[in-house]
């Protein structure tokens, strides 16, 4: 679960990391009233789940509450990369002297946290990695030891940083590490970490990614997730415990399967055959006919999707259940008649399943194997 800036900053504040004063503005809110406790000038930032908002006009400055009001209202009408802006963060503008980069990530190589720092903050860390690799230091953290002061001293000496910031920085690093551990983060990033005066640092932007599997112990994050704009189909799928994965906007093929490995393999083969997958849906385990029907309906709610490839390797799942689910969905009247389902099944009760499928109509194509299915999709040229 990726957090929006304002939510990430809320966590930083809760963990004693200094941030600017600010408020989150939504539609129909009295903006002038909301910002009255903030000192002008202001910075306004749209809160959306994508990068590059600055270039897209999603960051603006205002000298007065009146101007902030005007700009925020404009922003709340914007759409950036197809995402509607629903929230704008208005904060006190900061005069910063310099910018650093600081993050803690889950390091899959060492199976432990990793501290990343760069004295070049405010830019994309990937650009720094490419253009100034010597300006990034990555330090694996011993899981049982945590972050010790000598590691921070090392960073300061390596980049000849002003020691008057040592105390403030140490406190921020230790608090960010606590946040990382206690909130099950896979990423906790402050960029830029701004130098704003004598020994004073401020987290100006924040990215955090929290492990989805841990959400049962973070009710506030679940609340946040429920509160934000999201892909409707992702939300709908989640209600059935499916995982709906948008792949590419231009794709008109969809994939449904009972495991992410199979889904990835299908996407790879379809793509290799020169066609584009728009979305995929992972059923997880235990697919009954009802659930299959719901999955098929959700897939075709995306009007770009013309063809659905279902590949189920049964094992315990019964093939006839799957077939009945497909039949139910296609005959529900909720799916347009020109939509096609290519289906490949393997497992218990396969013959019964094939019989059911063969009786539905032309828009159901049976495949013998994954490659057969992929070929049948491409021969139809969607």
């Amino acid at each position: 679960m990726k957090l929006l800036e304002y939510k990430g900053k809320e966590l930083l504040r809760d963990y004693g990391i200094p941030i600017q004063n600010g408020v989150v503005i939504e539609e129909n809110q009295d903006i002038k009233e909301s910002v009255k406790n903030l000192k002008s000038p202001y910075v306004l930032k749209v809160q959306i789940m994508t990068g590059g908002r600055g270039k897209a006009g999603g960051i603006k400055f205002a000298d007065s509450a009146l101007e902030a009001d005007k700009l925020a209202k404009e922003m709340l009408k914007m759409e950036i990369k197809k995402l509607k802006v629903k929230k704008v963060l208005v904060a006190e503008k900061v005069d910063l002297i310099d910018e650093w980069y600081l993050s803690i990530v889950l390091d899959r190589f060492n199976k432990a946290p990793m501290l990343i720092f760069s004295p070049l903050g405010g830019v994309d860390i990937e650009d720094t990695a490419k253009n100034n690799p010597e300006k990034i230091v990555k330090i694996p953290i011993n899981f049982f030891m945590g972050i010790k002061e000598y590691t921070i001293r090392y960073i300061f000496k390596k980049y000849c940083l002003d020691m008057s910031f040592f105390e403030a920085f140490t406190s921020i690093v230790k608090n960010l590490y606590r946040l990382f551990i206690e909130y099950d983060c896979t990423l906790a990033e402050i960029n830029p970490l701004a130098i704003v005066g004598d020994g004073k640092l401020l987290a100006v932007d924040c990215k955090a990614d929290i492990d989805d599997s841990s959400l049962y112990r973070h009710s506030d994050i679940v609340e946040f997730r429920n509160s934000i704009e999201e892909n409707v189909l992702v939300k709908e799928a989640r209600a059935f415990n499916f995982l709906y994965i948008p792949v590419t906007d231009e794709g008109n093929i969809a994939v449904v399967s009972n495991g992410s490995g199979m889904i990835m393999s299908c996407i790879d083969l379809i793509t290799k055959n020169g066609q584009k997958v728009g979305a995929a849906l992972d059923l997880g385990g235990g697919a009954t006919s009802d659930r299959i029907a719901e999955a098929v309906k959700i897939i075709f709610k995306n009007k770009n999707t013309i063809c659905l490839f279902i590949s189920i390797f049964g094992g315990i799942t019964r093939c006839d259940e799957v077939a009945l689910g497909v039949k139910g969905a296609l005959e529900s009247g909720e799916i347009e008649k020109d939509r096609v389902v290519v289906i490949r099944l393997e497992g218990t009760n396969k013959p019964e399943a094939l019989k059911i499928l063969s009786e539905i109509g032309d828009n159901v194509v049976i495949a013998d194997s994954i490659s057969d299915g992929v070929n049948k999709i491409s021969s139809r040229r969607f």
Binding site: A112, S213, G259, G261, M262, M264, S265, D268
Partner: protein
């Protein structure tokens, strides 16, 4: 021979009285696995399908001499269950649950590496040495005994491969579900030396996917130490960047490492034959036989 489990495996099931534990426990016994006991706190002294239930793993270990434990417990209790098995000095601990918090596994991983236990999973279908023993919930009908050793991060791609192999009359020595999570208890690198040493195994199949660096680490090891032929499939070339694909593992790092291209290149340089699909894996192996 086979690796990790065989006819001498003495298995306990943590969570044996739960729905999944009971269901798959009976199937494991039916397959021939020696299930010597189970653990459910508070239900010690009971019997399920003829198997004694204990309150703690340590007790089960002391009473039965179990050498393997499989955990059919919910995700949120998996870490504690794994600790308990490690602490009781069970040599092989297999965790099945999906959606185990990755920080829990970071903890388990770092503890396990200090211990003598091998942890497999989470989000694993288990381990099977066809014809000898199975510890997990895999659909055992599709497996057959033979000389192909398989380890896979994906269950579905693995089943598909095994199904096609068996259809072609090609059996397997041991098949391991590594699990697709970000921090698996064990990975390719841990099993490669075992497969290389195992007499029954003639060909090694590695089914990986985007994300992480376990395939790259495996490639380095293969280059240096593995003489047996290795066939690999990397799934997820066209997965959307930075999005979770269900497997927490299938997230391509923003900086390009962990990509399918990188993995295939490193494996290829190590002499591994790269397959395009599960069917392709089987085709390659068929030609080798």
């Amino acid at each position: 021979m086979s690796i990790l489990i065989d006819e001498n495996t003495k298995l306990i099931i943590q969570g044996i009285t739960g729905r999944e534990g009971t269901f798959h426990g009976e199937r494991m016994i039916a397959y021939g696995t020696k299930v010597v006991g189970g653990v459910t706190p508070g239900k010690g002294g009971q019997n399920v399908f003829g198997v004694p239930v204990f309150d703690t793993v340590k007790q089960a270990y002391e009473e039965t001499g179990a050498n393997t434990s499989v955990l059919f417990v919910p995700a949120k209790f998996t870490a504690e269950g794994a600790y308990e098995a490690i602490d009781a000095k069970i040599p092989l601990v297999i965790t099945i649950a999906e959606h185990v918090p990755v920080h829990d596994m970071m903890n388990v991983y770092n503890l396990a590496r200090k211990s003598d236990s091998i942890v497999v999973g989470p989000n694993s279908f288990g381990i099977i040495s066809p014809g000898k023993s199975k510890a997990g919930f895999m659909h055992d009908k599709i497996f057959s005994q033979g000389n192909v050793g398989i380890m896979s991060r994906s269950a579905t791609n693995c089943y598909e491969t095994v199904f096609l192999l068996t259809n072609e009359g090609i059996g397997q020595s041991t098949v391991i579900g590594i699990g697709g999570d970000m921090i698996p208890g064990s990975s390719f690198i841990d099993f490669l030396p075992m497969f290389e040493k195992d007499e029954q195994t003639g060909i090694i199949v590695l089914i990986g996917e985007i994300g992480g660096s376990d395939e790259e680490i495996a490639a380095e090891y293969i280059k240096k130490y593995v003489k047996k032929p290795v066939v690999a499939l990397i799934a997820g070339k066209n997965a959307p960047k930075g999005t979770s694909m269900g497997h927490a593992g299938a997230i391509v790092s923003a900086d390009g490492t962990g990509s399918a291209d990188n993995k295939e290149q490193k494996l290829s340089e190590a002499g591994v034959i790269i397959a395009e699909s599960t069917e392709h894996i089987v085709k390659i192996i068929k030609e080798m036989q």
